[in-house]
């Protein structure tokens, strides 16, 4: 793994340490008395803070998860080299796109929906 990837992994880990803590606390708070879409969306709809939080969260995860998988695949399977890196880059892109879409989905009010 190149030094840059290692650095990105550790840096995103530090960011995620904070974000995951917040997310776990949010989850535990949110599931009390049952989870409904209405409750979730009431919190997140048009909430700039949550939106920014989730966007940054998604960005950090899109960096952190594929690099972590790269290590695991290198050590536990024979797969390595260019093809693996390409597939993981695509996985990273997928996480980014899907994650941003999810963040937007819970941020935008119903009238502004798309797709």
């Amino acid at each position: 793994m190149t030094a840059i990837l290692f650095l990105a992994q550790r840096a995103s880990a530090m960011v995620l340490a904070l974000f995951v803590s917040v997310h776990l606390a949010t989850i535990i708070y949110a599931v009390r008395g049952g989870l409904t879409a209405g409750e979730v969306l009431a919190r997140t709809r048009e909430n700039h803070l949550f939106f920014a939080f989730y966007l940054l969260f998604v960005l950090a995860v899109s960096v952190h998860a594929p690099i972590g998988l790269r290590n695991v695949i290198h050590e536990w399977t024979p797969w390595q080299g260019r093809s693996l890196d390409v597939v993981l880059a695509l996985f990273s892109l997928m996480l980014l796109v899907m994650g941003v879409r999810a963040a937007v989905a819970v941020y935008l009010p119903p009238e502004v929906m798309f797709g």
Binding site: M1, T2, A3, I4, F6, L7, R10, E75
Partner: protein
Amino acid sequence: MPREPESTASAPDLRVQVWRGLAEGNFQTFAVPRRAHQTILDVVTEIQRDQDPTLSYRFACRVGMCGSCAMVVNGRPRWTCRTRVSEVADGDTLRLEPLRNFTVVKDLAVDMGAFFDKWRDAKGHFVSRETQDDFHIVPPSSPERRAADAGIDCIGCGVCHSACDVVAWNENYLGPAPLNRAWTLLNDVRDAGNDARIEAVSGSAGCHACHSHMNCTQFCPRGISPTYSIAGLKRAMMKRALGAKP
């Protein structure tokens, strides 16, 4: 020749299972009387001298200075001269094997060559500057010197190399001892070889393969913690990737 301590007649004999052969081989069991203050080295020596002269094993100083007697005792890599039978015997059973992750030369003796090749590959040797204007001033309390001091007691015994899981999984992994040495040299302000050294420990078989299992730290007979030396190399590697001189 000095007499052995009297065997403690009331205690049953030790059942000592000793690896015989190469990578392929088998365990041979010997009965050895228990004696006061007996070390594993005493046991192996008694077997080789009194019972089976064909047994191959290594030792030199007998007093915990050279590291030559390292082998795996009841599953753990140790110096046999510094290991009392009383502290490790599993009931009356002892199981002696050559160090893991080394090529077996015969029985309990291993080939250290590949280990020292990794030392070389990690650039674990001092590189002097081309010209010297004056003496280097190295305050003993400086952070670099303290970092180096924490790791320089290594005598290359191979216990950490035997203990390391990543060394077992990845034959290219440089390993705790070479990386620890690289770290001590990185902190030696007289050394001029750090660019090549950081390069060497950043490769695919380098410091980032360490997952902090801490076996090396747990078993090092000198009390060194290669895990933390390797963590230092990781930081140095990252600093360099950012363009800063570590």
